[in-house]
């Protein structure tokens, strides 16, 4: 060991009772292990939390795709004729509308409150979906590299750093073009509600936008900290238990018999004949010690007897 002071202090130079020496040594070892574990787990849990959030985000996007599909296949055919009629436009026929509405309901649950979902487009029908400069960058990357299926990373916002996961939105169905190609193909009621100046001119197989899930970076850290805290707490509880048990065992196994032997040895120094080291029947080190004392006691008794005899003769 490089630190003789520390070594002496911890491993016992005999300055303190055994029990204290052991306690100090154990605490130091435990504290050090917890510290190392926390530092390592901090990294591990950070990765895990991000993974979990990426997984959830992927799930959201898949779920929203399913909602879109459902709307396209099952709802639109029923609602679309209404939109050709004289009444107002029913957005329930729009895949994007149902996806964003369903997500809003999801978001109302406390578990998902932190998450937000956007279907950003370069040329959106609803100007709410207009891609900002960051989203435009993401969409342009998808457009320039069609093999790219997911992008994840960090972005900074006025509310602090955010973690995002994005996937491209591609026009794969001819049915989408009814409402997104030219104004004269779209239902008149849609034009009255959304205008005819944006959200048109989309092409088949074009990547027009992206699904983007964002979570505050803070939420990632919080998830990590929760796992870390629980684990650290478990460690501490386990170590305290180990410490207490060790302590009890030490007491039962060594300290008590040693104190007993020590008391008897003191007694034997005055009246060896009345003392009996019963521990000598044990087969452990305590027994060994007791047998040594027993022999010493007998020697002492013999010596004392001889002394007495000599005194009587003279």
């Amino acid at each position: 060991m490089k630190f003789p002071v520390l070594q002496g202090w911890m491993v016992g130079s005999g300055q303190r009772p055994l029990r204290k020496q052991l306690a100090i040594t154990l605490s130091a070892i435990f504290a050090l292990s917890i510290l190392v574990a926390v530092v390592l787990l901090n990294q591990l849990f950070g990765l895990q939390a991000r993974d979990l959030i990426d997984q959830r985000s992927s799930f959201f996007m898949d779920a929203m795709l399913a909602v879109r599909e459902y709307t396209s296949k099952d709802v639109n055919p029923i609602v679309a004729p209404l939109n050709e009629g004289p009444g107002g436009f029913r957005p329930e026929s729009v895949p994007s509308y149902s996806a964003q509405t369903v997500f809003a309901y999801l978001k109302a649950k406390p578990d998902y409150r932190e998450y937000s979902y956007r279907e950003a487009a370069l040329n959106p029908t609803n100007l709410r979906d207009k891609a900002d400069s960051f989203e435009t960058g993401v969409i342009e990357r998808f457009r320039s590299d069609p093999s790219l299926t997911t992008l994840a990373g960090e972005k900074s916002t006025p509310l602090g750093p955010m973690h995002f996961v994005a996937r491209p939105i591609k026009i794969t169905k001819e049915s989408c073009l009814v409402c997104h190609s030219t104004p004269d193909r779209a239902p008149a009621s849609q034009l009255l509600t959304y205008g005819d100046s944006s959200g048109f001119g989309w092409k088949l197989n074009e990547i027009v936008g992206a699904q983007i899930v964002t979570v505050p970076q803070k939420a990632v850290f919080e998830a990590k900290d929760r796992s870390l805290f629980t684990t650290a707490l478990l460690f501490v509880i386990a170590f305290v238990a180990v410490g207490l048990i060790t302590n009890g065992v030490l007491n039962q196994l060594i300290l008590r018999p040693m104190r007993e032997i020590s008391r008897k040895a003191e007694e034997a120094s005055v009246t060896p004949a009345t003392v009996s080291f019963d521990e000598r029947n044990r087969s452990d080190e305590i027994g060994l010690l007791a047998r040594s004392f027993e022999r010493m006691k007998q020697s002492l008794a013999i010596s004392m007897q001889m002394l007495k005899d000599r005194q009587g003769r003279s």
């Binding site: 530092v39 100007l127 709410r128 916002t157 959304y194 650290a232 410490g243």
Partner: protein
């Protein structure tokens, strides 16, 4: 046992504290309370103060204005902002009716409508929007038309802006009360209506006196006396109850960064009086059945007279 137990626990607790301290790093405290809607977002509607002005339902706001406004609102509210600029008052009408906006920049007709909703669902006026202009509701016919008075408009084809517009929808219908029309048609801009009037597809259209002179080939047949008040920035009741002063203060301080076309006036409460007066028109027309595109329509229902004091001219 106990003495040793304590001396063993002490350092362990210290290690725990150390671990906790370590985890505390990397978090910054959030400085201000945020103003969010019930869904954890601030849903902002944007119609702008003037309706029907674009050529054909033109883009409501230029792109850079959208992102600047969104950022500004995010900073002011400390909440994720979903900014929805809409081209059509009809869209805004639906959103307001369903309380789907927490904050909205509205023209006068929609502001009056927003006030109208019931106590816990309605909106409060925060700031006036738009310049006071000579805005007044008019109805136009072709110059050569032989329709001279309101009564002559019976059986006409009427062109309106979508529901929600004061000069484009509520006042024209209010003034045509009692007539049966051949059909009602909608467009997103006055210009579109004017084109259709000129082409003979419509017989009478809604018009706003503040618009540039439409030319000699059309003439005004109905001139509504009510001067149109300015629009308003409105806030939903739940947020009015929340602490919205920091939000408003920051908007006031950054008024210069808001799109100039918005006409945001910092530090002033809008005059509720003129809007309240026109609410009567809005509620009356709202209680009627909605005229459908291309269908015949009898302008009929409850009609209360406006009180006189606000009448100008």
């Amino acid at each position: 046992m106990s003495a040793a137990g304590f001396s063993a626990r002490g350092p362990l607790l210290a290690a725990l504290a150390m671990a906790l301290g370590l985890m505390g790093c990397g978090q910054q405290p959030s400085a201000r309370v945020s103003l969010c809607g019930p869904a954890g977002q601030l849903r902002v509607g944007f119609v702008g103060a003037e309706e029907g002005r674009g050529s054909t339902g033109a883009v409501v706001l230029p792109d850079q204005d959208i992102s600047r406004l969104r950022d500004l609102l995010t900073v002011a509210s400390q909440c994720e902002v979903m900014l929805e600029p809409v081209a059509s008052p009809e869209q805004a009408h639906q959103r307001l009716g369903a309380s789907e906006w927490d904050v909205a920049f509205l023209p006068p007709g929609l502001a009056a409508l927003a006030l109208e909703s019931s106590a816990n669902r309605g909106y409060s006026l925060l700031r006036p929007l738009g310049q006071r202009s000579q805005s007044r509701s008019q109805l136009l016919v072709r110059a050569g038309s032989d329709r001279r008075a309101v009564a002559d408009l019976k059986g006409a084809r009427l062109g309106l802006l979508p529901r929600g517009s004061l000069t484009g929808f509520y006042l024209p219908l209010y003034n045509l009360h009692g007539l049966s029309l051949q059909s009602v048609h909608y467009a997103l801009s006055y210009q579109e209506l004017l084109d259709q009037l000129r082409k003979g597809q419509l017989d009478v259209i809604a018009w706003d006196a503040a618009l540039p002179d439409p030319g000699g080939d059309v003439r005004v047949i109905v001139n509504d006396p009510n001067l149109i008040p300015v629009g308003a920035l409105v806030l939903s009741q739940p947020l009015v109850a929340a602490d919205h002063q920091p939000f408003l203060k920051l908007l006031d301080e950054s008024a210069a960064q808001l799109p100039p076309s918005l006409g945001y006036v910092a530090g002033v409460l809008p005059e509720a009086q003129p809007l309240q007066r026109l609410r009567t028109v809005v509620t009356n027309v709202e209680s009627w059945t909605l005229p459908l595109e291309g269908r015949p329509y009898a302008v009929y229902g409850r009609k209360q007279q406006l009180k006189d004091e606000g009448v100008m001219r």
